[in-house]
Point group: C2
Chain length 249, copies 2
């Protein structure tokens, strides 16, 4: 439950990276042969299953992760249990960027998956030796910061419907980036998790999902997947439109 089981004989083995489907989406995508070999030498290949805790808010920040498969939830808690999910990670995402001496958030697996785990001290040393990796990481940080700003706008100023629509648009964009279909979305998280990501309650998420369904904007294929029937309408509801490129390809 709590422990991340170190699996995959992996560490040190040649060319785990060669077959890694997440590499294209990951910071290590900028490295070639030699760089990959060195990075991989420092990596611990861990696998996890639903509910496993990768790291816990308040613990000493000793490790960094690169998600290679599966989805992960990153959240913060208030003392009375109120929860804010600050992000959902998927393959290629880096976990641990925003870290001081202690983790300022917890990370928990939504389902089975795997990651490359690095000791922070090792990673820091590697960074010094591979400026192109550091560059990629700064790039990544810039993107995350931009996403964080978008989320602040969402949490501070958008209505419940705008939040839900924005969330779905975001998932769609991510699916496209990962090479998938922008109209067919997987929802690996529960309604409660969506609510805690959007600053709402499960009930409000549920009601607005139903509204989208009724209006024919989306169609629920199962509890954890849906299709976007009217992308334009969804963008409109998200309060965007300006960025009307996207799914409407």
């Amino acid at each position: 439950m709590t422990a991340t089981t170190t699996a995959c004989s992996g560490a040190g083995t040649t060319d785990v990276c060669a077959g890694c489907s997440a590499r294209r989406l990951s910071v290590c995508g900028v490295l070639e042969q030699e760089g990959l070999r060195r990075l991989n030498a420092a990596a611990d290949h861990v696998s996890f299953s639903a509910g496993d805790i990768l790291l816990r808010e308040g613990d000493p920040a000793t490790h960094l992760f690169n998600i290679t498969s599966g989805d992960v939830r990153v959240h913060k808690l208030l003392s009375d249990g109120r929860r804010q999910i600050v992000g959902f990670l998927s393959p290629g995402d880096f976990l641990g960027l925003a870290t001081g001496d202690r983790y300022a958030f917890s990370a928990e697996a939504l389902g089975p998956g795997s990651a490359c785990r690095f000791r922070k001290v090792d990673y820091r040393k590697i960074l010094r030796e591979m400026p192109e990796l550091e560059h990629a990481l700064l790039d990544r940080a810039a993107h995350e910061l931009k996403a964080a700003h978008d989320q602040m706008l969402l949490l501070g100023r958008k209505t419940a419907m705008e939040r839900l629509a924005s969330f779905l648009v975001g998932l769609s964009e991510r699916a496209l980036r990962a090479g998938g279909d922008g109209r067919l979305l997987a929802l690996p998280m529960t309604r409660a998790e969506i609510a805690d990501y959007l600053g709402l309650t499960t009930e409000t998420v549920s009601r607005n999902t139903t509204r989208l369904k009724t209006r024919g904007v989306i169609r629920l294929l199962s509890m954890h997947s849906l299709s976007i029937e009217r992308p334009g309408e969804l963008l409109h509801l998200a309060g965007l439109e300006a960025e009307a490129e996207e799914i409407c390809a």
Copy 2:
């Protein structure tokens, strides 16, 4: 109003940096002599006054800034005018980290101040040549990301009073870092700006400020400065406490 007037003969002049009071707080603080000289050679020293727009959401992202004096507001807008302030910058802060091809936010001066302005392409080149600067920037990005996560928790899950208290605690911490008194706060921004930062309305900010005043937690010295009378109480209201170090020195 809109233009940032290029002042300060500066660019190229020797040792502007030596006398720069923001250096200690800034990314360039990690550089010595030679590095500073090279960085400064690429810098445009600009000064601005209240209301000046340093950069505008949607414009091509051509420049980066390092605030050297004064305060700056960074915000995003929705098409109907709703505004979310994603940050207040003060001397030593870097502006433009979270930037792609176009600015995703606007930045406006709260009052008179100054900054080092860099062409993005130049800065990128300098970064490649000065890994220690890139390292400092990554560090800075990590801190900003952490702050963004805290703000998401605030916007998504905290009550109006908790938001205001957290805001004041944050200002206090910043004042301490800048070498000031943690109990004596300057509020360079208006109530409306505080509201747009906290996801509230001016009225709610005003009401809760009054409540804090009435309870004797703070004392208003003027419209734009106050003193924290009961730091412990304020931390409690902010929903923190865990981090009860701080002002209570």
